[in-house]
């Protein structure tokens, strides 16, 4: 027992920071029901930071350090991870789980640490007037819903009146988020919306797909995660639903979702807010400095997959925010509060991305005090089963903010009222 205690004490001691560095906690999940989505994101996030260390010697001369903590997509472990890492000067949290995000929103605000929930989490956090420390640029679920509908409009020459659209969603906070937006858009454009809930984990979806087969909607859209994605795609193939009319949100648009279904998944679409594939100069440098040096995170077999790119992109945005913060405050070793300022003043332009070797990887945008949500742009990607890769079939385009902004304002106002908060940015 005594030896065990010594080991524990030693463990705590060893974990203490020894030198100044930029700490990026990575609340990852490499186990559990959603591991297949968590692994590539965590790998991409870590690899970009390793690349910065190896190639540039960190950011502004300060080395970066990834502090990985396994959450298993579980909120309680998420809390434990947050408490364990926040004392080490963690700069920005990216939990990759809507449940943990809701959990952490009040906590990070109280501790004045920023949180970046890219394409997930609480959508109304886009309103910087209420949510000072939460950012969800460049796009959120409600943008996603609008992007799906915009794509349908494009396909039909701008008129989808009377079309039938089914939304297959994960029956949780994550899956329920876009419903209200879809309902508003259905009112505006006059399409018929059917909601089909699928319970965690989504192994069994026969009833829902038989219903789709009976009702024969023109389009099916999906808000799925984990095993639900590939089962849904398989069932859609089984009932011979035309794949090009089946559009997933970005979390349903990974290789994991389509690969198990084989050739049948050819033509499946998903919206995305960043570019796909590994055809960017930066991946050459990644191979040189990280992969060949044997420093790739995880098994190193995820590079270029959709969710890996998302983790990579998230890390890039975080690193750019650090640079912005360093510029604003004039110190290299920044604090979480400075990081928050950096994120709020972040500006990504095409020139910046080209410099980084990631031309056209994501949208150009500027974060402001009021708008933490970015431009809400996205593109449509389509799966090519023969070459096993995604390719963009549209340009990055904006979403219908005239519908989304009122929803964001209403929801964030409700949050502000519930918690007695004053609006910022005046």
């Amino acid at each position: 027992m005594k030896r065990l205690a010594t080991v524990t004490v030693a463990a705590v001691m060893a974990a203490a920071p020894v030198m100044a560095d930029l700490v990026f906690p990575s609340l990852s999940y490499r186990t559990g029901a959603y591991a297949a989505g968590g692994i590539p994101f965590a790998d991409g996030y870590a690899d970009y930071m390793t690349l910065l260390n190896e190639r540039d010697g960190g950011i502004g001369g300060v080395m970066t350090r990834i502090l990985e903590c396994e959450t298993g997509y579980n909120t309680e472990k998420g809390v434990e991870c947050y408490e364990a890492t926040k004392g080490e000067g963690s700069l920005v949290y990216q939990p990759l789980s809507t449940g943990i995000t809701y959990q952490l929103i009040p906590k990070v605000t109280a501790d004045n640490i920023p949180m970046h929930t890219m394409g997930y989490g609480r959508t109304s956090a886009a309103n910087g007037k209420v949510f000072s420390n939460v950012f969800n640029y460049p796009a959120n679920y409600w943008n996603g819903a609008s992007l799906v509908v915009n794509h349908l409009l494009d396909l039909n020459g701008g008129d989808i009146k009377g079309k039938k659209v089914s939304l297959v969603y994960h029956n949780s906070g994550y899956g329920k988020e876009p419903i209200r937006t879809f309902e508003e858009l259905a009112k505006k454009h006059g399409f018929e919306l059917t909601l089909l809930a699928i319970d965690h984990p989504g192994q069994e979806q026969k009833s829902q797909w038989l219903q789709i087969r009976r009702e024969r909607p023109d389009y099916v859209t999906m808000w799925g995660w984990g095993v639900m994605n590939q089962v849904a795609i398989q069932e859609a193939i089984n009932i011979k639903f035309p794949m090009e009319n089946f559009i997933g949100v970005w979390w349903s648009g990974s290789e994991n979702a389509v690969l198990p279904a084989g050739d049948g998944a050819h033509g499946y679409k998903a919206i995305t807010f960043h570019n796909v594939g590994s055809d960017f100069p930066v991946f050459g440098e990644l191979a040189k400095y990280v992969v060949d040096a044997g420093k790739a995170a995880g098994a190193g077999d995820q590079i270029g997959t959709a969710i890996y790119n998302r983790g990579f992109y998230a890390a890039m945005l975080a690193a750019e925010a650090v640079k912005t913060a360093q510029k604003i405050h004039g110190v290299a070793d920044i604090t979480p509060a400075m990081m928050r300022d950096g994120m709020e003043a972040l500006e990504i332009t095409e020139a910046v991305m080209t410099d980084l070797g990631m031309p056209n990887f994501g949208p150009s945008f500027k974060v402001t005090c009021e708008n933490h949500g970015g431009p809400g742009t996205g593109a449509v990607a389509q799966w090519d089963a023969t070459n096993k890769k995604w390719s963009l079939i549209s340009d990055f385009a904006g979403s219908d903010m005239s519908v989304i902004q009122p929803l964001i304002d209403a929801d964030s106002a409700a949050y502000a009222a519930e918690n007695g908060m004053e609006a910022r940015c005046n």
């Binding site: 984990p201 011979k240 690969l259």
Partner: protein, 333 residues
């Protein structure tokens, strides 16, 4: 010509039957072990996952514990670079499952003979935890595609042959080929199991143990051999269930949750009856699909399948506390 709504109902029912067969398959594994040893084996679902993981691992020539080896020795091994044919791999996995059964008996339940049922149940939960971590460590936790050549997709033949029944809105009955195969396999498996129990020496010994441990011991039947045997059989059944489910959704963690689908089946059919597991499975499959079709989706907002099976079983149990086919509970003071 029938009204469409009626035909849709029939279609839902047929699909329910197919789903029910798969539930019954999982439940069968529970029944085998419970009958012979009184252990309620919560790890049955994880065994299905473990079996399927091992099958994919062997087929693709994955190096077991690659992650552990790589991080301890700094090597970079992932695959042996060979592909084992499906049939041979299944045989190898069966050997693994027998080995697992032996380990379970030798290291765990041999030491727990005569304990209360709830303690045995807890031990199987411990086993489930252990195997979950062990399986992930051995074969890593990414999604794997399982392809042993089972056809998938709706059966065109049935669709075309039945489409004349309804109007233009009716396409013909949709039945997944995978589920047809699964049903056939399940039926064959049940027949083989029953024949095994009925006509072979080991089978008879198994039934003797199920009837009365001490009497079986006194006529010279080795209890530990029988227990290894039933755990192997349960492992084999789990493997089949894992293959059928894994072919549909890829092999990943959620496979282990199919055990939860089998519990209401067991309640309905009774923990000790093989025909009960099958009939229970069919009732649950048809019941939950029809309920979702008739009441759940139109009136309750859907996703009712998770609880409906349990509620159905609960109602049945209030009238027949030992399940439909369970042995009558006789209580004496």
């Amino acid at each position: 010509m029938f009204p469409d709504q009626f035909l849709f109902g029939v279609e839902v029912m047929l699909n329910g039957l197919m789903a029910g067969v798969l539930y019954a398959l999982v439940a069968l594994g529970f029944v085998l072990i419970f009958k012979a040893s009184g252990i309620f084996n919560y790890a049955q679902g994880v065994m299905a996952l473990f079996g399927a993981l091992t099958l994919v691992g062997i087929m693709d020539g994955q190096v077991p514990f690659a992650h552990l080896i790589n991080s301890v020795f700094g090597t970079d091994v992932h695959h042996f670079g060979w592909h084992v044919p499906a049939f041979l791999s299944i045989l190898l996995v069966m050997v693994v499952m027998v080995g697992l059964a032996w380990c379970v008996q030798h290291f765990i339940f041999r030491h727990l003979v005569g304990q209360e049922p709830i303690i045995l149940f807890m031990a199987t939960i411990g086993l489930a935890y252990f195997m979950e971590g062990f399986g992930d460590m051995m074969w890593n936790s990414e999604i794997k595609k399982l392809d042993i050549g089972i056809p998938q997709g709706g059966s065109m033949w049935i669709e075309e042959a039945t489409s004349f029944l309804g109007g233009t809105n009716f396409y013909g009955f949709f039945i997944d080929k995978l589920e047809i195969v699964a049903s056939l396999v399940a039926i064959v498996l049940v027949i083989v199991l029953v024949a095994f129990a009925q006509y072979t020496k080991q089978g008879r010994a198994m039934r003797a143990v199920a009837d009365d441990h001490q009497a079986a011991l006194s006529v010279g039947i080795s209890l530990s051999f029988i227990w290894v045997l039933v755990w192997s059989l349960a492992g084999f059944v789990a493997l089949v269930a894992g293959i059928m489910w894994g072919a549909k959704s890829g092999v990943q963690f959620s496979l282990s949750l199919i055990a939860l689908k089998a519990l209401p089946v067991l309640m309905l059919g009774g923990f000790t009856s093989i025909p009960g597991a099958i009939v229970g499975g069919l009732i649950v499959g048809v019941g939950e699909k029809l309920f979702e079709f008739l009441i759940g989706a139109p009136f309750l907002g859907g996703a009712t399948e998770n609880w409906f099976a349990y509620m159905l079983a609960l109602v049945f149990l209030v009238f027949r506390p030992q399940g439909l086919f369970g042995e009558k509970i006789i209580e004496r003071v």
